[in-house]
Amino acid sequence: MHHQDIPLEVVQDIYTRVLRIRRFEEEVGRLFRQGQLPGFVHLYIGEEAVAAGVCAALTDDDTIISTHRGHGHVIAKGGDLNRMMAELFGKATGYCKGKGGSMHIADFKIGMLGAIGIVGGGMPISVGAGLSAWYTDSERVSVCFFGDGAANEGSFHESLNLASTLTLPVIFVCENNQYGEFTPAHKAMNITDIADRAAGYGIPGLVVDGTDAFEMYRAAKTAVARARAGGGPTLIEAKTHRRGSHAEGEEAFLGGQTYRSDEEMAAAQAKDPLLLLHTYVSENDILPAAKLETLDAEITQAVADAVDAARDSPAPQLDSLFEDLWL
């Protein structure tokens, strides 16, 4: 892990994104366990370096598309914690006025084109966002986050191939957290690196250590430059770990069944992206400890404020059922 080629403000920026995601997700986990949040919740803890590194390499114009595990992507792209939290509570002040929920947060103003609850469902749409950029001769790139599980969906195949044949500025970021629900990636495919599939579409495929935010940033920069220069799509496979449940509350609904060993969990903990980043910036005196503490305190407070604001927000009016319909 090193940051030699990365300006200090970017290091700080990446660190901030990772931390914001972490503190937000920790709080969401607590709220869910307390029974305060409706629906399903899939946390991004352990994978923060992927979204943070990638989004730090994007401009505000660039777009992203996300998955059922989408909170981290929204935050990394600059999403508003209050409107996110309110959405998770199903409140009228949420990003989607309570109509979307955890799996469907979007912020079109910042190029966050939406989280999609259908595994692989966002990939074709991201191709369309890339098509738009190409069509309008814009510099914009389109980023698609998806999981190792999604890489086995037909949409993966069709989307990468389509983006390749049209030479579109799309960056496919596969978050290989080793599991699709409870199935290990290596049982759902007979290959080690999903990045190898890129060859089948004639596009570059990179394996990146997804626990290292700097590596993610570098890989994304390269892919973004390539895309902006008209070089077409890239597939980036980020090897990462989901530290927590597939969906919050899974212990209960799995009835005591487990699917990961203690060693595996310990190894993932040792590669925790926030821990790695914190250790790196601390040990190398890149960001002063005091600053890190203030930052953490600020973010923690912002998350707490978001929760308070969400709680105090009104539930959607029944009238709103018939808003946001046909134009």
Binding site: T63, I65, G94, Y95, C96, K97, G98, K99, G100, H104, A106, D107, F108, K109, L113, G114, I116, G117, I118, G121, M123, P124, I125, S126, V127, G128, A129, G130, L131, S132, A133, Y135, T136, S142, G154, S155, H157, E158, S159, N161, L162, T165, L166, E323, D324, L325, W326, L327
Partner: protein
């Protein structure tokens, strides 16, 4: 007025709208060469960027249309045969129609999915199904199926200008049909039915090819002294309930004619609505005329027997009259 074929009228709508608005583009399998003549010649005029051939990848192409739409363009996604939309079903049901609502009104998805629908060319089950009934069920998806060159052009132009996802269905069996198509620009509004024949004894309601079965039936009924009103719905979602209810208020009898498998068909929807909202007007039970409830057979004699015919419509109308 110039007379044009159904398929030429559709082509004209595409060309005119692409000329009018450069955010409009066409994407699909072999749209350049034009598997259906509806897209023929557009590549020559509009070039590579606006007439885009794709690999055979319905799911991705449909989704790409959606992604392009929510980022400011106005795609026309041509997926050839209606049944190929089954491969893109997820993108349409889960994404296209839902995005605006699901994201609290932050976005809109102005795009057109254009496919052939229905049977009549002995192409077998995989190429001969009507698909409108599926998309009618989905909230926030518009569905249209014109029966004439005039409507084909006018409705497609409206669809392209519509800010919502629209499924534009065209009928292969009507492709060569000729009709008047004005040279001056015109639009046919989505959601408005067209009364093709005024009558006082029974209301017959159809869409696309079944309009002709209905008209033919009306002629046969006239010979029996029965004066049928024939309504071409043109739009399936939203549909012009008002016109139908007003007609039934007059005739007291209703026959729904729909080329579709029977259960949960458009005919079921029309019949249920009339039964619900015009009950006191009804002098006889509503009647549905649809496909026979079997997969589409290949052999022309069988295919013909599966599809709703004028004779079937006459028989149904007679039932309302006894």
């Amino acid at each position: 007025m110039p007379r044009k074929t159904y398929v030429a009228a559709i082509q004209e709508a595409l060309a005119e709208e692409m000329r009018r608005d450069d955010r409009v583009f066409l994407i699909g399998e072999d749209v350049r060469i034009g598997v259906f003549p509806s897209t023929r010649g557009l590549h020559a005029e509009f070039g590579d960027k606006r007439v885009i051939d794709t690999p055979i990848s319905e799911l991705a192409v449909a989704g790409a249309g959606i992604g392009a739409a929510v980022t400011g363009l106005r795609p026309i996604v041509d997926l050839m045969f209606g049944t190929f939309l089954y491969l893109a079903f997820d993108q349409i049901a889960n994404q296209a129609g839902a995005m605006r609502y699901m994201y609290g009104g932050q976005t809109k998805a102005p795009l057109v999915f254009m496919v052939q629908s229905g049977a009549g060319s002995s192409a077998g089950h995989h190429h001969s199904q009507a698909v409108h009934q599926f998309f009618m069920n989905m909230p926030q998806i518009k569905v249209i199926l014109p029966s004439t060159p005039y409507d084909g052009k006018g409705l497609l132009k409206s669809a392209i200008r519509d800010d919502n996802p629209v499924i534009f269905l065209h009928s292969l069996s009507l492709g060569g049909k000729r009709g008047d198509v004005p040279s001056d620009e015109y639009l046919v509004p989505i959601g408005a039915a067209d009364v093709k024949r005024a009558g006082s004894d029974v209301t017959i309601c159809g869409v696309g090819p079944t309009v002709y079965a209905a008209l033919e039936a009306a002629k046969m009924l006239a010979a029996e002294g029965v004066d049928a009103e024939v309504i071409d719905l043109r739009s399936l979602s939203p549909w012009d309930k008002q016109t139908v209810l007003e007609s039934v208020a007059k005739t007291g009898r209703f026959v729904a004619v729909d080329e579709s498998f029977p259960t949960c068909s458009a005919a079921s929807e029309w019949a249920a609505t009339v039964a619900e909202e015009a009950f006191s007007d009804l002098k006889a039970p509503v009647q549905r005329v649809t496909n026979q409830d079997v997969p589409m057979p290949f052999s022309p004699v069988l295919e013909k027997a599966v599809l709703p015919s004028a004779a079937d419509v006459v028989a149904a109308a007679r039932k309302t009259l006894t």
